[in-house]
């Protein structure tokens, strides 16, 4: 009758158990980091899938993020007390420090996180991971290490692309939709620019990449229950990764700024 009273307690226990298994899996992955060279071809393959194939969606989202930021900044400055070139400053700083890494992270959660969870989850329920083990392969080194390493390398590169196209989008919107010349926009951009701000965005990208792929690998690796289980793992990956991104966003800002 009062079983519902135990639900929060059980939820807490399950969550802690999950965190423990995640840490154990990551420890196992970091132990296999020294043998990365054996999996070089798999890492390159994953770099292509995670990085190169994501470029179009990253360009698209960052372009529109920059444009929206530009339009909204100009809307705030309508009073006329703030000079027009401030639009460039606002767009530059917003894109470099927050929008490029955050938007890329969220988009990649859907594109990469869900794919990895479904792929590894399907391998688990169709006994492909057992088959790998029976053939003397370490599934952690074979499946998880290449994906996490590839994300750690490619995410900062995607952030650079998102930075460039976000600013281009902001410039385009400022010049075409408002009374801001491109020289004014660039002046604003240069006025507030600090190299650390760009580095900060890249560091965020690195953390987001590792978080998304490791969560997806963990969810896929421990999938149970056939097709329903794969669906559950994929959903959990997207939800947990989104929460992890906003959490990391705050933690990194608090520590690094």
């Amino acid at each position: 009758m009062f079983r519902f009273l135990f639900y929060p307690f059980n939820f807490l226990i399950d969550s802690l158990e999950g965190v423990g298994r995640y840490v154990e899996l990551m420890a196992s992955m970091f132990r296999s980091l020294f043998s990365w060279h054996k999996y070089l071809s798999l890492i390159v393959d994953q770099m292509f899938h995670i990085g190169v194939l994501s470029i179009p969606i990253v360009i698209l989202t960052s372009l529109f993020s920059g444009m929206v930021t530009s339009v909204q900044a100009a809307y705030q400055f309508e009073s006329g007390f703030v000079p027009n070139w401030f639009v460039g400053s606002i767009v530059g700083e917003s894109i470099l420090m927050e929008l490029a890494p955050m938007m890329t992270g969220l988009v990649m959660t859907g594109r990469i996180g869900a794919t990895i969870a479904a792929e590894i989850g399907t391998m688990r329920v169709s006994e492909q991971i057992d088959a790998l083990e029976s053939l003397s392969f370490d599934p952690v080194s074979f499946l998880i290490l290449p994906r996490v390493l590839a994300a750690a390398i490619m995410f900062p590169m995607l952030i650079v692309i998102a930075d460039c196209f976000g600013i281009i989008g902001g410039l385009f919107a400022a010049v075409n939709a408002m009374d801001v010349s491109h020289l004014e926009f660039i002046r604003g951009l240069r006025n507030w620019f600090r190299p650390w701000d760009a580095w900060f965005g890249l560091i965020k990208g690195l953390f987001f990449g590792v978080a998304i792929t490791s969560i997806a690998c963990y969810q896929g690796f421990y999938t149970t229950g056939g097709a329903t289980g794969v669906g559950r793992s994929t959903t959990a990956t997207v939800v947990i990764s989104c929460v992890a991104i906003v959490f990391l966003d705050y933690i990194l800002a608090a520590i690094l700024l």
């Binding site: 399907t122 169709s126 006994e127 492909q128 057992d130 088959a131 029976s134 053939l135 392969f137 370490d138």
Partner: protein
């Protein structure tokens, strides 16, 4: 030789295997039968170290595998070919790559020798010429054959089959049974076959273990099992659901 002593395994509150004891000598072909959910596949996975038992010991070639590290298990597994229920072929690789993967890892063969081994393994299972086909293009029976080719490619001393004929038509079943018998007839291979197809048992096994409620209910030859005076065993081999009621 495989030796299992006092093996227990449970998942949560559900006991799957309880006090399992048996040994398989070199060159023997042992079929482990039982109803769905009797714990046959779990037992097979315990033998190869994919599932860790709660209690008890599993020895393969006099080596205790329960407590082995991953590296030590790799050495043992290099002598074991495992055929999975649905093939468990890697989706992202061609048939040829599925077979050559383990050869690259476990042997020092050159690329040409590996290609030759892949060709020979596929020819053994009547699947020659399928090297460049993706697993998604194969039927269920073909996947099982390729799974067998992958298992025999490493030339193992042990071959473990997890329901090799389940879901196949009678002709394909006969084909797979003949393959298992062919590998067994060399005398160099020890086979453990999980199945609930009695035809496979009579065709390929020289010893049968029947699992019931997590325990070994029968251990003997295929001829003996036909005449044993045990309703549970008779129900299983005849497939007559009215012989024993639930809970008996």
């Amino acid at each position: 030789m495989i030796e299992v002593k006092n093996l227990f395994k449970s998942y949560g509150d559900k006991g799957v295997l309880s006090d399992i004891n048996f040994s398989v000598v070199q060159g023997q072909s042992v079929a482990i039968v039982g109803k769905s959910g009797a714990g046959k596949s779990v037992l097979l996975k315990c033998l190869i170290g994919l599932v860790k038992p709660d209690e008890g010991t599993v020895y393969v070639d006099n080596k205790l595998i329960n407590t082995m590290s991953f590296r030590q298990l790799q050495e043992i597994r290099s002598n074991i070919g495992m055929v999975f229920q649905f093939g468990a072929l890697f989706d992202s690789m061609t048939v040829g790559e599925n077979i050559s993967l383990a050869l690259h890892k476990l042997t020092k063969l050159s690329d040409d020798e590996i290609q030759e081994r892949v060709f020979n393994s596929l020819e053994e299972v009547d699947m020659a010429g399928t090297e460049n086909i993706m697993p998604s293009e194969l039927s269920g029976g073909m996947k099982k054959r390729v799974g067998i080719a992958r298992a025999i490619a490493i030339k193992p001393t042990y071959l473990f089959y997890d329901e090799p004929t389940t879901g196949l038509d009678p002709i394909m079943t006969d084909g797979i049974n003949r393959l298992i018998t062919k590998f067994q007839s060399t005398g160099e291979v020890t086979s453990v076959i999980i199945t609930h197809e009695m035809r496979t048992v009579y065709d390929v096994a020289d010893r049968v273990l029947l699992l019931h409620d997590g325990k070994i209910r029968f251990d003997g030859s295929p001829d003996e099992i036909k005449n044993v005076d045990d309703m549970v065993v008779q129900q299983f081999i005849t497939g007559n659901s009215t012989l024993v009621k639930k809970g008996d």
